[in-house]
């Protein structure tokens, strides 16, 4: 039996521009990009293709120097047109000009009974060589999982509470068989359970409710209850020395497809959302797709920020950018680079969302009001002053203020004692939103995680 967890802390940000549950099938994007920077913990990627090479979907593009067997595959077939490097030849992205019709690199196909009886080693081998493996993320640190490790549990968050998050009912509709096959594979890797964590208030997609052989845990509460780190904290917290793997349902489905169909199928649905999108809806596309086609004649305003991912943890990729590896959401928000006369004292009415009641005193009366929010920081960086607010939006037995201060002081023992193993950026993203002192909380946290890994 799974657990039932009710949590009062947190804050759900309601924005204008939620996707309507319609799916539009677009033709293949012109270009597809794989960005090594999307993968935390990727160590000195070694490029295996040259500009001009032809690749198939599933052909390895590069591999990790530390775990040489783990391949990062091409999502589509086509031609490698650009290998972009930054300072000190750091690999930034590999761009592929996509074919109209995808050609797949064939991998072995398995029947359901074969999947059930196959051993973990064989399954891992298929996963690492096909480019599907990097869907598995290890906690602590939120880095790409080490194929040599055995996690104590695998956690799958089956709902997303981020602002404008896609509805998993739409995203994973009709994927029951693939999801189940993926679960069967994952079960081989862990000594413990595979947890599927669902939200009580929304309708649980059949893909998850019908899954067999998993622990289904129920959650109710506000954001960040959908973040898998928060869920792990309540189900089976990570202690020093523990290893836990997490994976998005999209990754589980990809694993299932790999074994049932024998291909690295990078196709997925992506929600294109935000107040500046004319028709927010879902699009069928592939991992790392160029966002141009989603935005063509679809923007109501020209001065916008295009974000791969959600507004709390996403990345500004620009109008010519490409989706990140893990992102199932493309958000377009108005750019906020404008001054506001006496903006800090003017009564805001109900125009701006705020966790603090010092702004929008009566906002709590209309919790479902949707806001149009721009990217302005509404203030400048300051020292830590306000207390108790981070704690109010972090539904874990963790003191974020103290943890962040220990990171700034580079005190490794203190970070460890205060629970840095339990969090990654998305778990504390809301702290960054509510902070009156405008710290880059997620950046600070990642510095701490990097520091503790080196120690």
């Amino acid at each position: 039996m799974g657990k039932f967890i009710r949590e009062k802390r947190g804050f759900t940000i309601q924005l204008v521009g939620k996707a309507s549950p319609t799916v539009k099938d677009l033709e293949m994007p012109e270009t597809v990009v794989i960005k090594p920077t999307d993968f935390q913990g990727l160590y000195m990627p070694k490029v295996m293709v040259k500009e001009g090479d032809a690749v198939k979907a599933g052909s390895p593009l590069f591999h990790d120097k530390r775990h040489e067997s783990v391949m990062y595959g091409s999502p589509v077939s086509g031609e490698v047109v650009e290998i972009k490097r930054g300072e000190k030849r750091k690999l930034l992205e590999i761009k592929i000009l996509a074919d109209r019709q995808i050609e797949y690199l064939p991998f072995r196909k398995y029947s359901i009974s074969e999947i059930l009886t196959m051993n973990a080693g064989e399954a891992k081998e298929q996963l690492v060589k096909s480019g599907v493996w990097p869907n598995l993320v290890q906690r602590p640190f939120g880095i790409i999982a080490d194929p040599g490790a055995t996690p104590k549990a695998i956690h799958i968050s089956a709902f997303d509470t981020h602002p404008l998050a896609p509805d998993y009912n739409v995203l994973f509709k009709g994927q029951e068989a693939n999801f189940q096959a993926g679960i069967e594979i994952l079960k081989k890797f862990t000594s413990g359970a595979v947890h599927v964590n669902v939200h009580t208030s929304s309708e649980v997609p059949g893909t998850f409710s019908q899954a067999k052989g998993v622990e289904v845990n129920k959650f109710t509460g506000k954001h960040p209850i959908g973040c898998v780190g928060v869920q792990i904290h309540h189900i089976d917290p990570i202690n020093k020395g523990d290893i836990v793997w997490t994976i998005n349902p999209a990754g589980v489905i990809q694993i299932g497809k790999l074994f049932l169909s024998g291909v690295y199928d990078a196709s997925r649905l992506v929600a294109v959302v935000g107040s500046e999108v004319k028709t927010p809806q879902y699009y069928k596309t592939v991992t790392g797709a160029s966002v141009k086609k989603f935005l063509e004649n679809n923007l109501s305003n020209d001065h916008v920020r295009v974000i791969s991912g959600n507004p709390l943890t996403g990345e500004n990729i620009g109008k010519d950018g490409h989706l990140g590896f893990f992102d199932l959401q493309l958000t377009v928000l108005p750019e906020g680079d404008h001054h506001e006369f006496l903006g800090w004292i003017k009564p805001a009415g109900d125009k701006k969302p705020s966790f603090s009641r010092a702004f929008g005193l009566l906002n709590f009366l209309t919790p479902n009001k949707q806001y149009r929010v721009d990217t302005n920081t509404h203030g400048e960086p300051r020292a830590f002053v306000q207390t108790g607010v981070f704690e109010a939006v972090t539904p874990m037995d963790i003191l974020p203020t103290h943890l962040l201060k220990s990171i700034l002081a580079q005190d490794i023992d203190e970070m460890e004692a205060l629970g840095i193993y339990e969090v990654v950026e998305e778990d504390l993203a809301l702290c960054e939103f509510v902070d009156v002192s405008k710290h880059n909380v997620q950046e600070i946290l990642r510095e701490g995680i990097d520091l503790i890994q080196e120690s």
């Binding site: 020395g241 709390l312 509404h378 002053v385 960054e432 939103f433 009156v436 997620q442």
Partner: protein, 402 residues
């Protein structure tokens, strides 16, 4: 507004790197961001949207919460003045004479404090912090109306430089700045801030016969010597010079008593507390803790037989005399110097209440306990947090071994 924006944009290049007035960039920036919320946008990766609230807004809310205390305080300065000289006056007369005494103190406090902040921001190349917006208003409210202005200036300078800038500026200070200013005056120039200094009486002005400017705290403390019942003393106070019932419980609660400009009215402090708690800017735990701690300590002392007369003053009087309410609402809740953990805030608040009453009752040399109690607990707040954070760490460690 357009014009203002344009002229700022035009002047800006002088202050930016390489400009003629580069040194003064942060002074310019403070002015600019005061007029216009800045146009900075979220970084490339991470939270792309930010809460509308910022430190300026937060500090402004505290100032708004102090306005009832300020307005009432101005009126009360006049009210006490006319009581002492035995003249009758209209509401406006009282208010105007109060404003005449109070506003210069406000101006000096802001002028000196902000001046130092600007100088430090230029010297140390950091933005001007908003913390002083609140401190600058708190300092006048905890001064007697008759305080010499030069003392306000010296105290403010001492508090801002030694109390804050020496530690690294807003957010880094250990003790409350406004209370540092007051404590400085208290120990450096005791004759001007203790005894019967609370009522504004111009030189060579005759007071009414039998007049006494003793505060309720002084009356209660003197009862220790005379062994008289404190409440009886309160009720009799003022009857000899035409100020009947000045220290009755209801007037103490309303605040028509001599004292620092802003601290006399418990009612106005409670209105401020309401604003702070509703907006979530002040910690209700601390406010409730101070009032609760003081009341509980008062009750406990009532129960002890014997002892001095002050001990047997009914506990609820502790909440309305002196500056307890003002300290609880505006001083103890300073987030920088208070305990930073939610559990710690309870301990911090309650201990402030307890110590205030203890100092009042057992150390009549310092009739006002709240100032020292808060400063004392400011110093101990990190220790409280140390234990609360330690408990959090311990829970995590215990979990690991199970």
């Amino acid at each position: 507004m357009e014009f203002l924006r344009k002229s700022l944009d035009k002047a800006k290049h002088n202050f930016e790197k390489g400009g003629k007035l580069e040194k003064y960039y942060y002074a310019f920036e403070a002015l600019e961001t005061f007029l216009f919320a800045p146009s900075t946008t979220a970084g490339k990766k991470g939270a792309q949207i930010r809460d509308a609230v910022d430190l300026k807004r937060l500090m402004m809310t505290v100032i708004i919460a102090m306005i009832p205390c300020l307005i009432f305080g101005m009126w009360n300065v006049g009210h006490q003045h006319y009581l002492a000289v035995g003249a009758s006056a209209t509401f406006m007369d009282k208010f105007l004479i109060g404003a005449f005494k109070t506003l210069p103190i406000v101006v000096v406090s802001y002028g000196v404090g902000l001046g130092i902040e600007f100088v430090f921001s230029i010297l140390r190349k950091h933005p001007v912090n908003e913390g002083y917006l609140v401190t600058g208003m708190l300092i006048p409210l905890v001064m007697p109306a008759d305080i010499p202005l030069w003392q306000v200036a010296v105290a403010t300078a001492f508090a801002v430089i030694i109390g804050k800038e020496a530690f690294g500026g807003t957010g880094m200070n250990v003790v409350n700045i406004a209370l540092t200013a007051r404590a400085f005056l208290y120990f450096a120039y005791p004759t001007d801030i203790s005894g019967e200094v609370w009522t504004y009486i111009p030189d060579k002005t005759a007071v009414v016969a039998g007049y006494s400017g003793a505060t309720p705290l002084a009356v209660a403390a003197s009862a220790i010597e005379t062994k008289a019942d404190v409440v009886t003393q309160f009720n009799q106070f003022g009857s000899s010079w035409g100020a009947d019932g000045i220290y009755s419980f209801s007037s103490l609660f309303l605040g028509t008593q001599p004292g620092c400009i802003g601290e006399t009215s418990t009612l106005m402090c409670l209105i401020g507390a309401f604003i702070l708690i509703v907006t979530g800017v002040g910690s209700w735990r601390i406010i409730a803790g101070v009032f609760g701690g003081a009341y509980a300590m008062g009750l406990l002392l009532n129960l002890i037989p014997g002892g001095n007369a002050f001990m047997h003053m009914p506990a609820h009087y502790h909440l309305v005399i002196g500056g307890l309410a003002f300290g609880a609402v505006f001083m103890a809740t300073d987030p920088v110097t208070a305990s930073q953990t939610e559990t710690g805030k309870w301990f911090y608040g309650i201990l402030i209440g307890v110590f205030t009453v203890l100092i009042r009752v057992f150390n009549p040399a310092y009739p006002e306990g709240i100032m020292l109690a808060i400063l004392f607990m400011n110093v101990f707040a990190p220790l409280i947090d140390y234990f609360v954070v330690g408990a959090n760490k311990k829970r995590r460690l215990q979990r690991a071994t199970v």
